[in-house]
């Protein structure tokens, strides 16, 4: 059994290598890392809105250094035209008047409050900090979690399905039906290859984007959640590849799973948008499992029972579809 598994494992690695899967994974890792370090974090550190002040009489003596003074209302109009998110403060008539291009109402209130607060920076707030993460650490963990989830749910899923479609097209699955081999090993070897590849990816992505010390502290929990999601997605990918006729049909299924299933999860987990039904969405719990792992939050044992149950059920379904496939002819 061990020899058979090794042969299958080696063959699957070669299939992935020849399909440029590993190269693609390295490419994605580089792309994500560049995005986090060169784009996302810098963006998150930027001041939220530029504030422009027209104060000909010089009444605002205690204003923050973040406030940019303009010499005339025309200059303010020009600045706001070029920076539509900016906020203008007109102090020419004594009272300060807020000038801005409108967006969503609650955001506009926030913009106005922020701009006005910069006129009295001495009133500094000292709130009790509940989180141990700095804002940058928090941002890094959030984006790393999202990218890892996307990689496992969309890219890995696509990779395993592509490999199986290839084998299905070549007809070699049927040859395995008459080999002296436990048929389940054919599936297990693929799961192990993808699991290992995803775990390595998760380690590198986490360490490169959350830092060595921070990353190492959350890594065991992150790897556990990665394993759960990786196995689920690999099994769904295998099932789709076995049940669907060709790659075109699979593309449709891929769109449904990767976009329509994942989008509400991202919205619910990362924004103020809340759906009543999101608790019934299986991806939501898996995503929250991964997010909780990054932030060191305890995860309910019920979640693990559900996850293991799902993996077992998916495996049985894949097994059934696989045995049906190997009996096919020509």
């Amino acid at each position: 059994m061990g020899k058979g598994f090794c042969a299958l494992f080696k063959k699957d690695c070669r299939m992935l290598a020849s399909g440029k899967f590993f190269l693609m994974a390295i490419g994605f890792l580089a792309l994500y890392t560049a995005y986090v370090n060169l784009g996302y974090i810098r963006f998150m550190q930027m001041a939220p809105y530029n504030v422009y002040l027209y104060d000909p009489a010089g009444t605002q003596v205690s204003k923050s250094a973040l406030v940019q003074t303009v010499p005339s209302m025309e200059a303010m109009d020009t600045a706001l035209l070029a920076d539509a998110n900016g906020v203008g403060l007109d102090a020419s008539a004594g009272d300060v008047r807020v000038v801005l291009y409108p967006g969503a109402e609650h955001i506009d209130h926030h913009r106005a409050d922020y701009a006005l607060s910069l006129l009295q920076p001495s009133v500094s707030l000292s709130p009790e900090v509940l989180d141990t993460n700095t804002p940058e650490q928090k941002a890094r963990k959030e984006i790393t979690c999202e990218l890892l989830f996307f990689e496992l749910a969309a890219v890995g899923f696509l990779g395993i399905a592509a490999v199986l479609f290839k084998e299905k097209g070549m007809g070699v699955i049927r040859v395995h039906a008459i080999l002296p081999l436990r048929k389940d090993l054919f599936l297990l070897s693929k799961l192990v290859v993808f699991l290992l590849s995803d775990l390595v990816f998760a380690v590198l992505l986490t360490l490169l984007n959350t830092g060595l010390a921070d990353g190492a502290s959350v890594l065991p929990a992150v790897l556990l959640q990665t394993a759960i999601l990786s196995l689920m997605m690999a099994l769904v990918g295998l099932l789709c590849a076995l049940l669907l006729k060709d790659f075109r049909q699979f593309t449709l299924a891929y769109l449904v799973i990767a976009i329509f299933a994942a989008t509400p999860v991202f919205l619910s987990a990362n924004t103020s948008v809340k759906f009543d039904w999101i608790n019934y969405h299986p991806f939501y719990h898996v995503y929250m499992g991964l997010k909780n792992a990054y932030f060191g939050t305890t995860i309910s044992p019920v979640y693990y029972v559900g996850a293991v149950g799902t993996i077992v059920l998916l495996f049985l379904a894949v097994r059934l579809a696989f045995h049906r496939e190997i009996g096919k002819e020509g």
């Binding site: 084998e167 002296p180 020509g330």
Partner: protein, 282 residues
């Protein structure tokens, strides 16, 4: 080696593929299984190779019921050449064969290069990916895959498909060599030349029924009209006459100067198939 009694199989309630087949295949025999598309050939072969479960009747291979013989021990003893050359297109012939051979015990495996050499595989292509091979070369690698484990029972589905005439002759020679080693061969084919030249016995299957089973020679003899056509020269004229074969026992029963040729009017195997089933082979 193979014993099949009252074999039935249904894909669904109203789609019975096999209607009670009965046949045996002896040790070391080359047995031909002939039938048109959709006649139940592949279904029978899939049951015999342990791929398809849920049949009715009794099927024994190596003296053991097939239902109990689908473990690894059973698959170690059989080799299967599929109708199409199922190979990893991104791997070379050698890598494909080494991969498939790795599932068998080392002492059972044949040397991959020797095998490819015997099958007259072009050495330049040994390390090139299968995707660059011609159909004939792929068929040679597939045959090598079926033989690499030294099987005791060999299932061959259209073995000479995709081969040129010299390749077909080579394959028939290889199959004959296997038989001489004691391997039992179960051949499914449309090719009457293969069936005629290779098989000790042939079975005709039509609509899931076995309609004839005998040696190719006896099948033809049984259905022969026992006539011969004689071409001859008489007084400078070329003529032709058809007579009953027993008439020849007393010599040529008509005046002639020179006999040019004598042809029996024995039917071909394909004629027999059409006679038994009312259908062509393709």
């Amino acid at each position: 080696m193979i014993e099949v009694k009252n074999l039935t199989f249904s894909y669904s309630k109203d789609k019975q593929a096999l209607h009670g087949l009965d046949f045996t295949v002896e040790d070391g025999e080359i047995f031909g299984f002939l039938g048109p598309n959709g006649s139940g050939k592949s279904t029978t072969q899939k049951i015999l190779t342990g791929i398809l479960k849920g049949h009715g009747g009794k099927v024994s291979l190596f003296g053991q019921d097939i239902s109990a013989a689908h473990g690894q021990e059973f698959f170690r003893k059989i080799g299967v050449l599929f109708e199409f050359p199922y190979l990893y297109a991104n791997l070379s012939a050698v890598d494909n064969l080494n991969y498939f051979a790795s599932f068998y015990p080392r002492e059972q495996r044949r040397d991959v290069r020797e095998l490819l050499d015997a099958l007259e595989f072009k050495p330049d292509f040994l390390k090139k990916p299968v995707s660059s091979y011609s159909k004939g070369m792929r068929q040679r690698v597939s045959m090598a895959r079926a033989l690499v484990s030294n099987p005791r029972l060999l299932f061959l589905d259209e073995p000479t498909s995709g081969l040129d005439p010299s390749g077909a002759v080579l394959f028939r020679k290889i199959i004959e060599q296997e038989r001489k080693k004691g391997t039992t061969v179960f051949v499914t084919t449309h090719n009457m030349v293969d069936a005629n030249l290779l098989c000790d016995r042939v079975a005709f299957i039509s609509n899931g029924n076995l309609v004839a089973l005998d040696t190719p020679k006896r099948l033809k003899e049984k259905n022969s009209n026992h006539r011969v056509v004689i071409d001859y020269l008489y007084q400078g004229q070329r003529e032709s006459k058809t007579i009953e074969a027993p008439e020849l026992e007393a010599g040529i029963p008509f005046a002639h100067d020179e006999i040019i040729s004598i042809h029996s009017q024995e039917p071909t195997l394909e004629d027999m198939f059409i006679q038994y089933t009312g259908r062509g082979l393709s």
